[in-house]
């Protein structure tokens, strides 16, 4: 699971849907059975692509996710980039590219701060199934 995905998902427990704490899910508590494992996977870098993705990002949630995964280098506010190909923007866009698209969470767990439910990631696929919530 890519780190960008953590910015798109929330707790699936229905009662949490209205709580501001259902997003983002937290990586701060991992279980010994499934230690957090990250890996790097190369993706072609395009500064324009990252710039066009930026408006979709909830910045405070990304800061939380990144911090819990050990990255404290992000700017505190969402950067506003006029010219993606300007040399002074390159480092920041490359860092975001590496964080959002190239870092794979191979395994680990995500915790809802509202209800405490834990979602597991295995083989890079997060599992959001709650047996009681299926179509019957």
């Amino acid at each position: 699971m890519k780190i960008l995905t953590a910015n798109f998902v929330q707790c699936t427990v229905k009662a949490c849907g209205s709580s501001p704490d259902c997003f983002p899910l937290h990586f701060d508590q991992q279980t010994p059975d499934l230690p957090l494992e990250l890996a790097h996977e190369d993706v072609d870098f395009s500064p324009e692509f990252i710039c066009n993705v930026l408006p979709r990002i909830e910045w405070p949630a990304l800061l939380t996710t990144a911090r819990e995964l050990g990255n404290t280098q992000l700017p505190p506010a969402k950067p506003e980039i006029e010219n993606p190909s300007a040399p002074e923007n390159e480092q920041l866009l490359r860092d975001l590219h590496t964080l959002l698209l190239e870092t794979q969470i191979i395994q680990g767990s995500m915790r809802c701060a509202n209800c405490g439910h834990i979602y597991f990631i295995r083989d890079s696929i997060p599992n959001f199934l709650l047996p009681g919530h299926l179509v019957q």
Binding site: F8, N52, R56, F128, P131
Partner: protein, 222 residues
Amino acid sequence: MLPTPSISNLNIERVYEPAEDSFLFLDVLQDELPFIRERFSTANAPTPLVVEIGLGSGIVTTFFQKNILTNALFLGTDINPYACSQSKETSKENGDPKYFDALRTNLLDGLRPGLVDVLLFNPPYVPDDTVPSFESAVKTDDWLDFALLGGCDGMQVTSVVLDHLTEFLNLERGVAYILFCRRNKPTEVAKLMRTRGWIVDLIEERQAGWEVLSVWKFSKAK
């Protein structure tokens, strides 16, 4: 004809094998290419998010990645764990976009509301007494029945998605493509959805064996 993705290692005992319904879906996307490219430019922000429910082998999402919008963001879901990993493999075999993740979940559960720009769904549409039981699938680790059996009128799964479209689609530009068979009574579904304010279009209808399949488009006025 746009190229069909190659899938070299598909375990058809575990994951739905692409069939007439899948291929109708690809043809519909090919027909819709001009509409989709006009509505969602990937040259400008924000980048569109394309989401497929029920990835199966990943054939539909991978076709979209390769041929329709190469620079979009892609997410897909499946209740079948083998479909999730197979889809990632299929995407990779065909060159992977910059962003694609498979989530194991029920429909769109877990996705934050309002994010989806293009929704794709080739659902379990075959009428049956019930939808398959999750508990027994966990015991047998056999998820294949979920691919086709859609319960009453074959609509038990699809109607949940239709009832929640407003919640998941981006309301300004979101569009959903959903496949039906004739026994799902799609013209009645279309009528109902129009009363809920959706613009509903039949894109293509096709005889497939003894089944008549069709793909419909749902959107709100732009």
